[in-house]
Chain length 361, copies 2
């Protein structure tokens, strides 16, 4: 398979390394920095350095746009303009709504791998970067089933676990689990530092080594890479503002409990947090053996996206899928693999409700 990568840094470079080593892909790369591009070639992350987007994507069957978040939309647009009619184009940005207007192109599928590293740049790229990592995909109603399948299978071969989700829900969740913790960490270091600045007695407590593990954990991501994070904050502003408002209301609740000074109520509040933490951890689910089912579908755009989203919404994750068009090309069979008996039964129920015939393998 011919794969093109636009932006060959940490994530783009890792895609290249994995695609070459694990999917036997021929990888062409493009980067606005000639130096970065040369480093990627040297590192073996790409087979070929292209001098522009058009030549990078010309013969590609899959394109990954891995530029900074702020440049994603324009890079993805350039990729779609220059790629062929049967090339799937995806990206790796941590917010998905910014690319919503590309959803009209049946070749585009938004993506977001939950992987990364402390460092940056192709020097830190690793072939095993995506092993076992969730890779969110946000297919739209017009997404081509054939192209979605190709992308899905390619990601599985890179070691990732693709999961189809709604783009807007994705961004709201990221605002809560990633962007808000960064804002809280920033606010917390500023608060601590201003206390130190204001009072010599406080400074003495800090100088002796006040910060235990809870402060270190809570501030680890404070002041994270400003180039990356300014883009992310800008891209997901609305969802993040909503989350800040929500957490402010929850802090106000906690303040009220403290002011009331009822030990029983504080204990209940803390116990509930413990229960909710356990529920969240459990919601992330354990891996069970994969089970297969086959679905007969009409061969039209959107079918795969429709199934993937229906299952994703119900918490059924597609571990792998394969699409086989019939000879007359009017219908096809989708083979799906999900984890465990319960998910298998649920998947069968959901797909039947969409009026597609299902058989268990």
């Amino acid at each position: 398979m011919n794969v093109a990568i636009l932006g060959v840094g940490l994530i783009g470079g890792s895609i290249g390394l994995a695609a070459r080593a694990r999917a036997g892909a021929q990888v062409s790369g493009y980067d606005t920095s000639a130096e970065v591009l040369a480093a990627a070639l040297e590192r073996g992350a790409i087979d070929e350095a292209s001098s522009d987007v058009a030549s990078a994507v010309r013969s590609a069957e899959a394109v990954f746009v891995a530029t900074p978040v702020g440049a994603l939309a324009s890079s993805a647009r350039a990729a779609l303009e220059n790629a062929g009619p049967s090339c799937v184009v995806s990206d790796v940005g941590s917010t998905k709504r910014v690319l919503a207007d590309l959803a009209g192109d049946e070749r585009f599928v938004g993506g977001h791998p939950m992987a990364g590293a402390e460092g940056a740049g192709v020097g830190q790229a690793r072939e095993d970067m995506f092993d076992g990592a969730t890779w969110y995909l946000t297919p739209a109603s017009g997404t081509s089933g054939v192209l979605y399948e190709r992308l899905h299978r390619l990601l599985v071969s890179l070691g990732a676990q693709p999961a189809a989700v709604d783009a807007e829900a994705h961004d709201r969740v990221m605002a809560c689990v990633s962007h808000l913790p960064h804002v809280l960490a920033n606010a917390l270091v500023r608060e601590a530092e201003s206390m130190v600045d204001d009072d010599e007695d406080v400074r003495a407590v800090f100088a002796a080594g006040a910060s235990g593990p809870s402060f270190r954990d809570a501030t680890r991501v404070a002041g994270a890479n400003s180039a990356i994070w300014t883009d992310i904050y800008m891209a997901n502003r609305a969802a993040l503002i909503a989350r800040i408002d929500a957490i402010a209301a929850r802090l106000a609740d906690a303040r009220e409990l403290l002011a009331a000074g009822e030990p029983g109520a504080l204990r209940d509040w803390n116990e509930r947090a413990r229960a909710e933490k356990d529920q969240l951890r459990a919601a992330e689910g354990a891996a069970e053996p994969t089970r297969e089912l086959r679905v007969v579908v009409p061969n039209r755009p959107g079918v795969i996206a429709e199934i993937a989203l229906a299952l994703g919404r119900a918490g059924v994750n597609i571990a792998d899928l394969a699409l086989s068009p019939s000879d007359d090309n009017r219908q096809g069979v989708v083979a799906l693999w999900v984890r465990g008996e319960a998910q298998l039964a649920r998947a069968q129920e959901l797909i039947t409700a969409l009026d597609f015939p299902v058989v268990r393998a």
Copy 2:
């Protein structure tokens, strides 16, 4: 030395193990639970199990009150009532103002070791629990210098680094670096769990494994041990409420920046958080070789506390100290060890300003 420990759980048990092994102490223990007391004896954390506070502290030269925070004040009072006139009494509670009314007794010095473990109970106790750990002490103006010195030296022999700080500043800092992060973690899991409850698209994103390292770090302490934390929240309510108000104001600032949508301002805000994080880390200082100085002091209560606090306030940490009374018992010499030339010079300056003669060793 005879040491008594009231409450022989994780911290009390670790003090016992370290005091026996490293200070050659004879340790008597008391606990409201006969079972815990037997386990402490079995574990070798105490030499002798006492049936009540009075017999535990009767011949003690140092008493550690290591009961839960909610029971600290009454246990410390019982210890002072039953201990002899030349016995130092300290505690290990994570808030210090609750014991402020004990400061009138020259035998009492509040304490707070920055150590702990995931588990609880004497079964998790370790002799090396305090190795290199900051151990805050909050001497008051009436604290006996001789007794403060005894406690300080005992803590050093346990492996800890004692640091004299102001009790009120201690509690304010703990509200910021420990108690507030717990409140934020609780608020964050509740927010995430309520998002999951409210929306099936959001649930799908979580089910696929949304939470990356920043969410795990930010929620690690959510719902921490309710028995311990209800006491801590109650004990430090006022300082914690002030910190919640302060962080709410900082979140409002961040919200305003996001709403304005100026990338440059967001970048500056993030960069400043990075700089402040670096400053905080630097404020915790690296260890330099110890240097000694000697101070001639009148032999009256409060002198050691006065020096220790003056140095602590200026960020000069006393690594070790020794007090030698003169023959006529009217004055004495305090030997102090601090880290590095700069701290030595600063210590000399500060103590001279207190009108005590200083000689460098």
